[in-house]
């Protein structure tokens, strides 16, 4: 209506919010990949992985949901794309933190990754207390 003459105002708002969320997602992708290369340690790289998954996949998939609902020229296919993107975003936001927590716990308990620059390690002290 204001920018695109073939859309009504509700679709136009959804399209603009979707474009903004997609741009946020691309920015978080690049930032997360740079962090994944530059960070020194596995337990620090978990932070970059979180930026790359939640910021880089969940937000833009919600954005694709809104954006594809607004696009008239896709026909019936836009409901298909919107439903698939919404379900994928829900699946990622539920499973990605669980997976990274399980991976961090396994890396600490199996001692494959040394906890190198550290001040204190409460998890190791707890394990020693349990063994005694």
């Amino acid at each position: 209506m204001f920018i695109f003459p073939e859309l009504n105002p509700l679709e136009e708002i959804a399209l603009i919010i979707g474009i903004i969320l997609t741009l946020i997602g691309v920015f978080c992708d690049i930032v997360g990949s740079i962090g994944m290369v530059r960070f020194p340690n596995f337990f620090v790289r978990l932070h970059a992985a979180t930026v790359g998954t939640i910021g880089g996949a969940v937000y833009p998939l919600f954005g694709i949901t809104l954006m594809s609902l607004a696009l008239n020229y896709l026909g019936v296919m836009r409901y298909f794309i919107a439903t698939g993107a919404f379900l994928t975003a829900i699946a990622i936001v539920l499973t990605a933190p669980v997976g990274s927590h399980a991976l961090a716990r396994a890396a600490h308990r199996s001692k494959t990754v040394p906890v190198e620059p550290k001040v204190c390690d409460f998890l190791k002290e707890d394990e020693r207390l349990i063994e005694e």
Binding site: D29, S33, G56, M77, A85, T95, L103
Partner: protein, 94 residues
Amino acid sequence: MALENFISTFIVVLLPAFLISLSLYAIRVIKGPSVTDMVLAIDCITYDLCFLMGLLSILFKIGFLMVAALALALWAYVLDVYVAKYLEAREVGD
């Protein structure tokens, strides 16, 4: 028609960012010092591919790509859990 041209241009302009980020993740997959680093980077690659599939399904007007994206997301979770289980217990189990 102007809307379709605008959306197509927007998606095509975004594609080199995916090239940069996927190649930077691939560096970590190749030279990662431990197994968990590689698995973490593969997770990030998979979730990025889900996002890329969403954009490509709008660009090519194929809605069925999103089913593949859902399967990819669940596959990454299965990889996480199996590698964690193997590292802790030295067996995969059921």
